[in-house]
Amino acid sequence: MAEVKLEGVTKLYGRKKAVDGVSVTCREGEFLSIFGPTGAGKSTILKMIAGIEEISAGTIRFNGEVVNDLPPQARNVSMAFESYNLYPHMNVYDNVAFPLRAPRWGLKLDRAEERRRVTEIADFLGIGELLERLPQHLSGGQKQRVSLARALVRRPEVYLLDEPIAHLDARLKFSTQSLLKEFASQYGSTIIYVTHDYREALALSHRIVVLRRGAIEQEGTPLEVFHTPKSDFVGRLIGEPPMNLIDGEAGSREGEAWFQVGDRFGLAIRGPLAEGMRACTRTEGGRSVARLGIRPENVRVSRTQPGPTAFQLPVYALVQEAQSTVITFELPETFFYVRTQQEIGSANYRVGEPLWVDLDPAKIFFFPKTVPLASKA
């Protein structure tokens, strides 16, 4: 196991910065996720750690030792890619056993021990039945699990996993995610994990690095990233539906801080939140503008007015899930989502019906505007 340290790591493609001065340490035995939208530079970072992509500037260290100039085979890492990269002429068994046979690790396992290790990891990932098959006879989900098994069969210094479960269907994704977590806790391995799926990042990681256009936007534990997102960008990356972002005018009314959204509604902002709003307020075309964020779970709706801060909106759509209902409202620039805890059959709101909407003041965030709203784009 190794500690992996990145210092000012940068990748240039021509004049374009794909990765921009990333400094982060993955501690020994840590599960670190690199999380962000497509094109943020996640895979490029992983490839530089593996040694298959050159580093334009900065240093990468394994246990303190600079590895910038080491070729991939001289870095003791195991990788699984989103594109499975299986050897098409080898069956599943030989594909998974391949890293165990590579002379440079000097494992020299006897046949029985090799079979034991391959079978163990294959059974663990639910592909024990497929060992004799060729890759061409596997589904995408099966291939991806073979690729993952091949990465996990050996005990390297670092595991580098790039979207290793992205192509599994929903059901299998969830169970394989649990298996990965189980694997990580059982072997205490150092794992660097690339994903665009917030559920995987939250569930698996000790720490998460949120990447935005090649640079680190936020670094923290899953709880920190979820409960104290540093920006509207981070807030909106998490949740389904994601955090609601609403732009409005920050001002005051009758001596109280006030947030006004068009002519639709406004709310009094009290206590320390007023300070937060002021800190995020910018001047835009002569108006003082701020952006409010709130998760769909932290809004209550009702037919009768619940309190002085509530406002009314007509229902745009009702989407009833197994244990809750997502109520969608339409705002000028975006949709506004509310998740209410309701069991199947108990929802009785109607489309077009005006409902009272009340935001939980303890769960409101204010951000400077850094992402375009245009979610109705």
């Binding site: 269907d169 059901r171 649990s178 539906p241 244990q323 199947i344 059959g345 489309v351 784009a377």
Partner: protein, 369 residues
């Protein structure tokens, strides 16, 4: 819009004699929003393609409003389609793409314009009407594809995994739009998906296909609370339903021989008279309560093995006390802190328990509505 009836439909592919769909019978009610749900290779695509007229029906009858349409092509059946891959005409503008099915039916110019403007308004496409598909983002293209499918009132609207590859932000949005469109128009709509959450959240009724066969058709409440077999029980809901071996003790309770020296759990519902002693107990992760101390009735001791934080909730994997060390998943609100290794007690409410024998349910449970 039509009522669509599938009467013992078979699809057999001559190459390799592969059975795509086996004796499939169900009815899509007029104005209904129905999901066809199942794992890949279960028969969804074959069914969709036979409904659309893109694939021959090997045996059986397909009827629209009582009239058999087996021999009719897609246009004659008057079916509208929207695919995961959008399938937009790249050389036509957004306006022309949406207008296409109307013009193909010989609608007058003024009428076409009125219709296109109306659906564009509904889907916020007005600023995009003059653009070409190539210059649009994925979510925008999917909205154009939906507009084309919903611009007229066909006999049947088919949506094939229209949002499965989108990011969560677009998914939430397109879901809301589809549901809104349905409330506006009440088209008879079939939504094909492998994602149970999608099917459950969007549709009024769900058809579940697996291994080329119908497993169950019912409302979400029926599918959730009265699954027709163990496959349906485990396929719908996330994380999946937990299953534990159990033995009937009397008409209202079971023992779990492998848990805590034979724990006793009582259950509610009508037990099938002929059911054997050995059964499988099923319970959903969302319907188990977690306690920090033992209670007398219906609690089982366990220890925390894994924690998976999901934002608003946390999924715990727990190892039950007992020789088999069975594991059970429970979804708990994320506010409460738990630690790996911590000892807990599970409370299974009698009304939350499912019982199966082999693949079949033997306990008739109460529905919510």
């Amino acid at each position: 819009m039509s009522q669509v009836e599938l009467r013992s439909l078979w699809k057999i592919y001559p190459r390799g004699n592969v059975v795509g769909v086996k004796e499939l019978s169900f009815t899509i009610q007029n104005e209904e929003f129905l999901a066809i749900l199942g794992p890949s290779g279960g028969g969804k695509s074959s069914t969709l393609r036979m409904l659309a007229g893109l694939e021959d029906i090997t045996r059986g009858e397909l009827a629209f409003d009582g009239k058999v349409v087996n021999h009719l092509g897609p246009a004659e059946r008057n079916v509208a389609l929207a695919f995961e891959s959008y399938a937009l005409y790249q050389r036509l503008s957004v306006y022309e793409n949406i207008a296409f099915p109307l013009r193909a039916r010989g609608m007058r110019r003024a009428e076409v314009e009125k219709k296109v403007r109306w659906i564009a308004e509904l889907l916020d496409l007005n600023p995009l009407l003059k653009k070409y598909p190539g210059s649009l983002a994925g979510g925008q293209q999917q909205r154009v594809s939906l507009a084309r499918a919903f611009v007229r009132r066909p006999n049947l609207t088919l949506l094939d995994e229209p949002i499965s590859h989108m990011d969560q932000r677009l998914r939430a949005e397109i879901r809301a739009r589809i549901r809104h469109l349905h409330e506006e128009m009440h088209n008879t709509t079939v939504y094909v998906t492998h994602d149970q959450a999608e099917a459950v959240s969007l549709c009024d009724r769900v058809v579940i296909l697996h291994k080329a066969q119908l497993q169950q058709i019912g409302t979400v409440d029926e599918i959730w609370n009265r699954p027709a077999n163990q496959f349906v029980a485990s396929f719908v809901g996330e994380p999946a339903m937990n299953f534990l071996p159990a033995r009937l003790r009397d008409r209202a309770s079971v023992t779990l021989p492998q848990v805590d020296h034979g724990a006793v759990l009582s259950f509610q519902g009508e037990l099938e008279p002929s059911s054997a002693a050995e059964v499988t107990l099923g319970i959903r992760p969302q319907e188990i309560k977690v306690l920090r101390s033992a209670e007398v009735a219906n609690t089982l001791p366990c220890a925390v093995r894994l924690l998976e934080f999901q934002g608003e909730s946390t999924v715990l994997t727990l190892t039950m006390d007992g020789p088999a060390k069975d594991s059970v998943k429970v979804a708990v609100p994320a506010g409460e802190p738990y630690a790996v290794g911590e000892r807990l007690w599970l409370k299974m409410r009698p009304e939350s328990i499912h019982l199966f024998q082999g693949d079949r349910p033997v306990l008739r449970r109460r529905l919510l509505s």
